[in-house]
Symmetry: C2
Subunit: 563 residues, 2 copies
Amino acid sequence: MERPEAAERPTRFETHPSRYKHWKLAVSGETATLVMAVDGDHPHKPGYELKLNSYDLSVDIELADAIQRVRFEHPEVKALVITAELDRVFCSGANIYMLGLSTHSFKVNFCKFTNETRLYLEDASASSGLGSLAACKGTTAGGGYELALACDETMLVDDGNSAVSFPETPLLAVLPGTGGLTRLVDKRKVRRDRADVFCTTAEGIKGKRAKDWGLVDAVVSRSAWDKTVAERAKALAANQTVTRGPAFVLGPLEPKVTDKAITYSHVELTFDRATRTGNLVVRGPDVADDAAKLAGAPGVEAGGLAPTAGIEPWSLRAFRELDDALLRLRFDLPEIGMVTVRTTGAPGLVQASDEALAKATSGFAREVRLLQRRVLKRFDNTARSFYAVADAAGSNFEGVLLELALGADRFYMLLDGGKKIGVRTSVANAGFLTMATGLSRLEARFYGAPASMEQVLARGAKGTIPSEEAEQLGLATVAADDIDFEDELRIAVEERASLSPDALTGMEQSLRFVGPETLETKIFGRLSAWQNWIFTRANSTGEQGALTLYGQPERPQFQWKRT
Amino acid sequence: MERPEAAERPTRFETHPSRYKHWKLAVSGETATLVMAVDGDHPHKPGYELKLNSYDLSVDIELADAIQRVRFEHPEVKALVITAELDRVFCSGANIYMLGLSTHSFKVNFCKFTNETRLYLEDASASSGLGSLAACKGTTAGGGYELALACDETMLVDDGNSAVSFPETPLLAVLPGTGGLTRLVDKRKVRRDRADVFCTTAEGIKGKRAKDWGLVDAVVSRSAWDKTVAERAKALAANQTVTRGPAFVLGPLEPKVTDKAITYSHVELTFDRATRTGNLVVRGPDVADDAAKLAGAPGVEAGGLAPTAGIEPWSLRAFRELDDALLRLRFDLPEIGMVTVRTTGAPGLVQASDEALAKATSGFAREVRLLQRRVLKRFDNTARSFYAVADAAGSNFEGVLLELALGADRFYMLLDGGKKIGVRTSVANAGFLTMATGLSRLEARFYGAPASMEQVLARGAKGTIPSEEAEQLGLATVAADDIDFEDELRIAVEERASLSPDALTGMEQSLRFVGPETLETKIFGRLSAWQNWIFTRANSTGEQGALTLYGQPERPQFQWKRT
């Protein structure tokens, strides 16, 4: 059933408001307005038209970029209004023809990316003083309503016609899988039996009932619309207690992309299609970030495209590059299933950057830490096997880079006679960089054994922890001397690369996310796992499935067995 | 890819130790020993042989029966030792040929049932003073190790050969999906990187390393084996603080089964294959259970098969019947996707039974309440759409039966002029009957609005809540008068029965389990959802998949795309 990808050119996750095709970003005082105006003729891949403000990956890449830029480049903004240019349609959701044409692996990664973007919108509200308002002046369906649910407040126009709806189950035989089901009952606390009615009513619910059921926060007439949007945005802004800034312009990353490597200034992903393996290297800073750099970026004009090389702190630059590399790995290198993760750099510089970042009082520095946290979550949630490897004296699993080893499925360390290879902790390992579960990676590693975590942090405070001791403390999975190391690692990598990709994804999703579940993990665990299952079933994607036949005259034919 | 079921005769979930083919139950003082001795020639369905203590549904039905009987019939037992008759094999897990021959829907339901059984073993330990010890004197693989993980303690023989293992991912391209992955890291708190190594090492881990990694609690030599088992069982028994009893023998249910109905004394499930709908009716007691009945059952000989009609309390009998009906619905009526749920009986009798049960101090009464709780969890976790319907004066959604309406996806109530139709609360709705999430069904219904729940309980204490008020209080999804009711319900049922069964399962799994996640919900949500996805993927069940080709000379051929 797998269809070939429509195009094989690299996916580009970098963009800029000046290049947006589907959104318009306008900043006015404390309010930014993000207007959805999808250009139907510019889909991510040829083969479908983006009608009625339906979206695809290209639309969502711009949305992710816009949210990120408002956080960094427009610190004065405290309320983000998401609305649409069409008068009668807010957003009709993910484009169904796009879904019908996509491979299973693309669908799953597309949903994961859209889920991350919506979670980052909530993160901006929770941590960055950026409230959000979905101003839905028309039909708000499927993924469109899921976007609205990710905002702090949702307003629906009361015109006797516009409804919010989840037509996925009744019309397409799939789920509102971009957080929809979870946010409905867990975030908005819509009564579960009402949610059941709503999710099976294709035409949706409008007006007073939508408000009474808690589906939206307000229904507002057309005549009062603009005034109410402005009032609500103002009230949202007034509620914010966190301040950001100073402004920092996110310059382009522009990696060099070949058929063997994606290369950035501090990050490089190399890969070998024959063995289906890759190697991700993150290089530490050349000079530690200091207080001056983390106070903001003097001389960079907001809204400009000024190059930030030499100005951008390593702690930001390296993690933006890592983020981009992970997204390219997910979308463009689906067969690279096993990735070793290495780090390089001079000792002490990451620690110094982490320390400076933790001490810095600027909103900009907080944004950098929050970005690091999001990128590390993206790493946790990337469906590839990761083995961290410390096998050279220049290995640099220190502080925030140690998180990569803790987030990896395994950590291999070489025992060297000189004890030059080791790991170093910093303030970055002490709790701020939480996983989606709410646990730090050290807490997750030592789940149920907090004393072991404390022991690591206490020992780390005294200096480098060499490989042997790292193994004893429970940080290294395997520590081996140079007689055995290379063979052991090679065999482990080959074995991993030979196992079923699907079974590994399911296994890693269970082992990585030990401990408590949150709204976020429920979306990626419970909801996405069911959606992925449904995407493989004939009732949705089979030749006579509802998703396949959408828009065609034939009626879907279902297999009626319940599981 | 769906294969036809090998046989179409009704599945029989009732059994008795005297009829066990695969287990031997022996009780001696405070210890019961359950010896796995699978009879390879008596599989659940023809087509495969149960070698090396591998199991199928027939083996697990006996295990579930044995645990239930020890709880009710052998209250003196405080430690359950699960071991095997074979000298070098404890259990090699679910039979792989059986899995390879089974339909997707059977596999999913089989895994769900085995998961429930293992959770009930943990429930017996947590709530009923019945500790458990897995005494693994030989190879403990896959589902065999998952059974051991569900016990309080696990002993592995230290013979230089016997290992615990999860070969599912490396050999079969599926997951240890009977709670295995979840219990490894969340219950036993095995370090996640070690769990990763363990779950990809087909031969498993033995001896000291198994102990060091926390995979087992003790490794014991052959010579010290019997003595240590006895000691550990004694210590487990000594730790129990809850007492059960007096003994109550669980008599046969023996429903009448036709092609239109399954009929018990208090429960009836009728169904119509043409419309794929069913109707489940639970009848209240004829006479309320009283303290005498709930103190135990005088005159019933332990171990006998004495008929319990007239002696067995309604609160036990009706829920055992409901349990059996739900299992038959799951396994034997896969196409009956939409089930209405009705109740009948005279007002006040369920309340009186609930009250008597809550007040009774006997261990037997506690066991009855725990069984009700388990059966209602089985209801929550049954992948069918349930609409509760109160449409007649004799409708009886009262106390413990009201839980069925709260657990259903929707609740339809008829508005009658005489206000005879209504619901009645009891002590049973106040918190003991928790869902897998740990919330009561009223808490789940009013998630985030505890005042609404308190309002219902306060109003319920004053007497019947008629339909109109039930709707206002948030108990009824729909209340309609007799002009509209019948049409509205009929259309809702027809619509539901027309939707994709897969999408509905995924939707219900998200909406029903609002709120916190627990070990139990992680198993059914996160782990099972991924396993179900994997079961649909070509890498496991395709023609060249690893599960399909197991035991054959061909090597599986994998599709390498990661999702």
